[in-house]
């Protein structure tokens, strides 16, 4: 419960900075905080207490017990993809900010 509240706080902070701040860099940081908060929520969807990593090898027992014990790998795979996309978007936004600064001669 405390974890969920913390995540909601993180989302709120990110969203507030992205929406309200007039500084573009701060807006971008806010967006990143918001996206990271979302990532943490998605990871928590696939989390199970006392679970094992989702890698099957000979010592893992039967497939049925392994499936019952292992965490769900799909949310983690989704997050990996999302992190890559987020990095690309942030890089592009930074280039745009640089271009903006260059155009205005600031």
């Amino acid at each position: 419960m405390q974890g969920i509240m913390l995540l909601c706080l993180l989302l709120a902070i990110g969203l507030y900075i992205a929406a309200v701040s007039k500084n573009i860099i701060k807006k971008l940081i806010g967006l990143n905080v918001f996206v990271d908060g979302i990532h943490l929520i998605v990871v928590s969807i696939g989390y199970a207490k006392n679970s094992i990593p989702p890698i099957f090898f000979n010592g893992s027992g039967t497939l049925t017990t392994f499936v019952a014990k292992a965490v769900d790998p799909l949310p983690q795979a989704m997050i990996l993809t999302s992190i890559v996309i987020d990095t690309a978007t942030t890089a592009l936004a930074l280039i745009l900010i640089y271009a903006l600064k260059w155009k205005r001669g600031a």
Partner: protein
């Protein structure tokens, strides 16, 4: 669990996915390494799009015998595998997008980097319309968004970077919320595949609806997320202008359709969204009528027509909505291209412009005639408030149509005498002529067009 018409793979599907990616990476590198050979990049992009159009046409012909076909990437079955679906509806849209994107390449570019960006945009659009998976929809939406930021920011106009940035941040927030909702759907249904989701009958309500629909509300753009578009279009490159006014609404329409088709939508939510699109129609038509600038007026005109299509979609008339959105894409493309490149029609540029303008107004023998009649009937049959909204929209539409023509005439006065046109401009000319012929054909065979639209987009 899967669709009964899950049949054989078609050779074109891997090519559809792989070819634009490979070519765009290749072009991007060549554009970065050999900056002086920008012509070479443009030629390659042009050839790539021509091949893609050819492939789309062949695939439509191949699909004539079967209903639809799908491929599982790496032969992994959902929920772990990625499913790419090819049916007549998304192939028809892809053919339209390929032709529009060819027009993007044919418009003169200041920077060679724009060509790989157009291909990247095409990859995103292709993936968005071909995927049958909620998460991949998010991925391809982000790819499209990244390319569109580039198209918006690369222009030489003073505020282009600023406008692109103020588009990037809300777009980032809305798509991230979509991602969160997709994860929640996975938590509820244990899958992200649309067919599997539809069998679970998940109700679309509260946060789930907000998260899944926000990016499409933003792209359409419906109130209250409508402010960004005019600013971006006014400062964008020509390709950016074309994307934001014609293809972005098509994406939003398809996204809404996919969500509404596969989730259980409460009637209250559908009515609420219909009310929002009706309000957007009124405000955008007032803005379009009062705007003195051609591009602003055109953007508001695009918003009005997209909102009308979405209104029909929310009231469960997807066939009519599809007709309306296709008419909007064709007409907007012709109007903007003629405005940006008046030389290709010498001093007769106002003829194609006027045909497109009449088409958007919903004149008889144009494709939006039946759709407009259908939508206005839907407005009146839904409730008296919607009827009142329809009356206001019709009045202001006539004013902004006149306003648009007036703005275009002013532009025509400054057009130089005709000069010799190169192969790209000639292609663009034939493309516009093809679009005008399509407008007439769809207008003449409206009943058939309506039947096909209902077949392609059945009610949920």
């Amino acid at each position: 669990m899967f669709h009964p018409f899950l049949t054989k793979d078609i050779f074109a599907i891997p090519v559809f996915v792989a070819m634009p990616i490979l070519i765009s990476i290749m072009l991007l590198e060549s554009a970065l390494i050999a900056r002086r050979e920008s012509k070479y990049v443009r030629e390659l992009t042009f050839i790539a799009f021509s091949i893609l159009i050819l492939l789309s046409s062949i695939s439509i012909k191949t699909l004539a015998s079967s209903v639809e076909s799908s491929i599982f990437m790496g032969k992994w079955i959902p929920p772990f595998g990625i499913q790419i679906l090819l049916n007549r509806s998304n192939l028809a849209i892809i053919l339209l997008i390929a032709m529009t994107s060819l027009g993007f390449v044919c418009i003169e570019t200041e920077y060679s980097i724009l060509n790989p960006l157009i291909l990247l945009l095409f990859i995103g659009l292709l993936g968005f319309f071909l995927t049958n998976d909620l998460f991949n929809m998010f991925v391809f939406m982000e790819i499209t968004a990244t390319a569109s930021f580039g198209l918006a920011a690369i222009s030489k106009k003073k505020d282009s970077a600023k406008a692109a940035l103020f588009y990037l941040i809300p777009a980032g927030i809305t798509t991230t919320l979509f991602f969160l909702s997709a994860a929640m759907v996975y938590g509820l249904a244990g899958t992200l595949n649309f067919w599997q989701i539809s069998t679970k009958a998940i109700e679309l309500g509260g946060f789930l609806a907000a998260g899944l629909l926000l990016p499409f509300i933003f792209k359409s753009p419906l109130i209250p997320l409508h402010k960004w578009k005019v600013n971006v279009v006014r400062n964008s490159s020509p390709q950016g202008i074309l994307f934001f006014t014609s293809l972005s609404p098509l994406m939003a329409f398809y996204g809404f359709y996919k969500i509404f088709e596969n989730f259980k939508v409460p009637l209250k939510l559908a009515y609420f969204l219909a009310f929002i699109s009706g309000t957007t129609c009124v405000l955008a038509s007032i803005n379009a009528s009062s705007s003195k600038d051609f591009l602003s007026s055109l953007v508001y005109c695009s918003i009005v027509n997209t909102s009308l299509a979405l209104f029909a979609l929310f009231l469960n008339f997807p066939g009519i909505a599809f007709m309306q959105i296709i008419a909007t894409v064709l007409s907007e493309f012709v109007m903007i291209t003629v405005y940006l490149k008046p030389n290709i029609f010498a001093d007769r540029g106002e003829i194609p412009f006027l045909i497109a303008l009449l088409s958007i107004a919903g004149m008889p023998f144009t494709p939006s005639f039946i759709s407009k009649v259908g939508i206005i009937t839907a407005f009146f049959s839904a409730s008296q408030i919607f009827g009142l909204i329809a009356c206001v929209v019709v009045v202001f539409s006539s004013i902004y149509i006149f306003n648009l023509y007036k703005c275009f005439e002013k532009r025509e006065e400054h057009v130089k005498k005709a000069r010799t046109i190169d192969i790209y401009e000639r292609t663009l000319k034939y493309l516009i002529m093809g679009f005008i012929v399509s407008i007439f054909l769809l207008g003449i065979f409206q009943t058939e067009f309506y039947k096909i639209s209902v077949l392609l987009f059945p009610k949920w």
